[in-house]
């Protein structure tokens, strides 16, 4: 008997073939809108890819269709890896995203469990309090935070990002994990308590292992959010060697008014690949996480 909320199988799609549901009807109602959505959604990525393989002269030649590459070249990629700090930015981004995700997961697993499972005075208020932090987005915090980071001497130090990212990761992860913990039948833990386990053991050996899909979903989400973060990285990281991909690409691949679109798009594509790959593998966990958070939260 597995906890029902943790099943990652999707409910059977419901509007299967109904009488009177012709292929033509389905085409007009479903396939055509879907195709339009797919084209609009994916075109910018296609354009990114196409641009990154074009030579400098081909980039600005719209006399023939720009939608295809005539003489593909890897020059932009070569330039990106040899002439810019892109590899360094990629490394920084990976380090910051990984460590801040781990910190956030640690905090929000404990907090999520505590708020969803344990009964004590003030739990509801604190739960609301954590949710209310949504009202204080980074846009509101970045200016005072510059002073805090200065005081801590963390300018141009990756720790500045590792420590500040959890402020927006923890609330979301906690909220998501609360949904997952609520989905685990209480009886499982109570049975363990009856058998002499302590509350801590019940949490570590039963609740947390069962919430693993939720933890994976929350971790995935946190990793993406920190990989994509821009504002804090823009302000706290001025030295080229400590920049993350989003900041490095937008700040250093543009020289004055000159846009090296080929190189920019190559960097954008490479910067997107890790999260895109992660998602194509774990999209089901992501949806399951949304379900737990949105439906039960």
């Amino acid at each position: 008997m597995a906890a029902p909320a943790l099943k990652l199988k999707f409910a059977k799609p419901r509007s299967g073939r109904v009488i009177g549901d012709s292929l033509l009807g389905r085409t007009i109602r479903i396939y055509i809108p879907l195709l339009v959505l797919l084209v609009v959604t994916l075109f910018p990525f296609y354009w990114m890819a196409v641009t990154s393989f074009k030579s400098a002269s081909e980039l600005f030649d719209f006399s023939v269709s720009p939608l295809w590459v005539r003489e593909p070249t890897l020059d932009w990629y070569r330039h990106l890896f040899t002439e810019t700090n892109f590899p360094r930015w990629a490394f920084n981004t990976a380090v910051v995203a990984t460590v801040s995700t781990l910190i956030s997961l640690f905090c929000s697993i404990l907090a999520g469990y505590s708020l969803a499972r344990l009964r004590y005075r003030g739990a509801d208020t604190i739960g609301w309090g954590i949710f209310v932090t949504y009202l204080v987005p980074p846009t509101l915090l970045f200016l005072p935070l510059t002073f805090v980071i200065r005081e801590l001497h963390l300018f141009n130090n990756l720790w500045a990002l590792i420590l500040t990212y959890p402020t927006f990761l923890i609330p979301f992860c906690t909220w998501m994990l609360m949904g997952f913990f609520k989905g685990i039948p209480r009886e499982l833990e109570e049975a363990a308590l009856v058998d002499g386990a302590t509350r801590m053991q019940a949490m570590l050996r039963i609740a947390i292992p069962l919430a693993l899909p939720g933890i994976l979903a929350a971790g995935l989400f946190a990793f993406t959010l920190s990989w994509n973060e821009f504002l804090y990285a823009l302000i706290f990281m001025n030295d080229s060697l400590v920049k993350t991909i989003p900041v490095g690409v937008t700040q250093e691949l543009i020289h004055g008014d000159e846009f090296f679109w080929g190189e920019l798009m190559a960097a954008a594509l490479l910067g997107s690949v890790p999260v895109a790959v992660l998602y194509s593998f774990f999209v089901d966990y992501f949806v399951a996480g949304m379900t737990a958070g949105a439906v039960k939260g």
């Binding site: 008997m1 799609p13 419901r14 509007s15 299967g16 109904v18 396939y31 879907l34 959505l37 797919l38 959604t41 994916l42 910018p44 990525f45 354009w47 719209f62 939608l67 404990l110 907090a111 505590s114 344990l118 739990a123 604190i126 949504y134 009202l135 987005p137 980074p138 846009t139 509101l140 915090l141 970045f142 200016l143 005072p144 935070l145 002073f147 805090v148 200065r150 959890p166 402020t167 109570e190 049975a191 308590l193 009856v194 509350r199 821009f230 504002l231 302000i235 991909i245 690409v249 937008t250 846009f259 997107s272 194509s280 999209v283 992501f286 949806v287 949304m290 379900t291 949105a294 439906v295």
Partner: protein, 310 residues
């Protein structure tokens, strides 16, 4: 699952529960400590500090003197109406994009909830704009809206939807705002769709079967089953997205950065421009703090809807 329940469980449990309740409080608080420390130091403290900054003439790296509501007064009066532009734009940007993201997201979720070939692939593909780093995809859009080599215009001209050379997307105030909104809708819709889809998956199938037996049309099923059952999800998503769009920074910063002539100025961008490149941290803090009461009102409204009994 590994733990066997004993036949005498219920009686024991009842006695246990009382004792467990007593012992849960300390652990409950202890588990919250890491979260509260992080949020306290890097969220609550800066927030309160920001309120203080906004009533001082602080500059980058130097704490200033108390100047009362001077920054707010400056913001209202001495900025040639940019404050009003930014305020109106922030509302307009949030309002318009939210309406589009909501309806398109709902449509996308309904489509994804159907029996379609390559379901997994389609779902992952439609989610892409939301997960790819915003500034990177916005750079692609900026290139697509290039004043002379816009592929969007090339497509518009070649499908005869626009006359050569096509609109100047980022150089004309109204167009630039439209471009900002289009890209935000492009990026934000998948989040709505995935959350709505998640909500739809848990609606019991029997409801639809019963409705179908009673001869309900597709539209009736949608308005009488799907929408009411989805209501909590709709509201939560609306809440989160409104907050995030209201405070949106990175996308607009990359695409227009307030240009041309402050016509796409948003409170978030404007606060940054004064605070970091401009060095007037106090004033910047005052500008960004204007967001807070506005956000609170919006959130209170959505929460009110959320709590209203059926």
């Amino acid at each position: 699952m590994g733990v066997r329940a004993r036949p005498d469980t219920p009686a024991v449990l009842k006695r246990r529960r009382v004792r467990i309740f007593d012992r849960e409080a300390p652990l409950g608080y202890v588990l919250l400590v890491p979260t509260l420390v992080v949020l306290g130091v890097f969220l609550l403290y800066p927030f309160l500090f920001g309120i203080w900054l906004s009533i001082t003439d602080s500059e980058l790296g130097a704490l200033g003197n108390f100047i009362g509501l001077g920054n707010y007064r400056f913001e209202w009066r001495n900025t040639d109406g940019v404050f009003y532009t930014a305020l109106v734009n922030t509302f307009l940007y949030t309002g318009v994009t939210t309406i589009f993201k909501f309806s398109l997201g709902l449509a996308m979720a309904l489509l994804l909830n159907q029996v379609i070939p390559f379901r997994r692939f389609v779902r992952a593909a439609l989610l892409l704009p939301y997960i790819i780093p915003t500034v990177l995809s916005y750079e692609a859009w900026r290139w697509m809206f290039d004043p002379t080599f816009s592929v969007v215009n090339w497509l518009l001209v070649h499908t005869h939807l626009a006359a050569y050379p096509g609109p100047n997307w980022l150089g004309v105030p109204a167009n630039a705002m439209a471009a900002l909104m289009i890209v935000n809708v492009w990026r934000g819709t998948p989040f709505y769709a995935i959350a709505f889809l998640a909500g739809m998956q848990v609606i019991p199938v029997d409801l639809y079967e019963a409705a179908r037996v009673d001869g309900a049309t597709r539209w009736q099923q949608f308005t009488n089953i799907t929408l009411p059952m989805l209501r909590p999800v709709l509201l939560v998503v609306l809440l989160l997205s409104t907050i995030l769009t209201f405070a949106d920074f990175q996308g607009p910063f990359v695409l227009t950065n307030g240009a041309p002539y402050n016509s796409t100025q948003l409170l978030s961008i404007w606060a940054y421009q004064w605070g970091i490149p401009g060095g007037a941290i106090g004033l910047g803090a005052a500008i960004s703090l204007v967001l807070f009461p506005l956000l609170t009102i919006v959130v209170a409204g959505v929460l009110f809807l959320l709590r209203r009994p059926e």
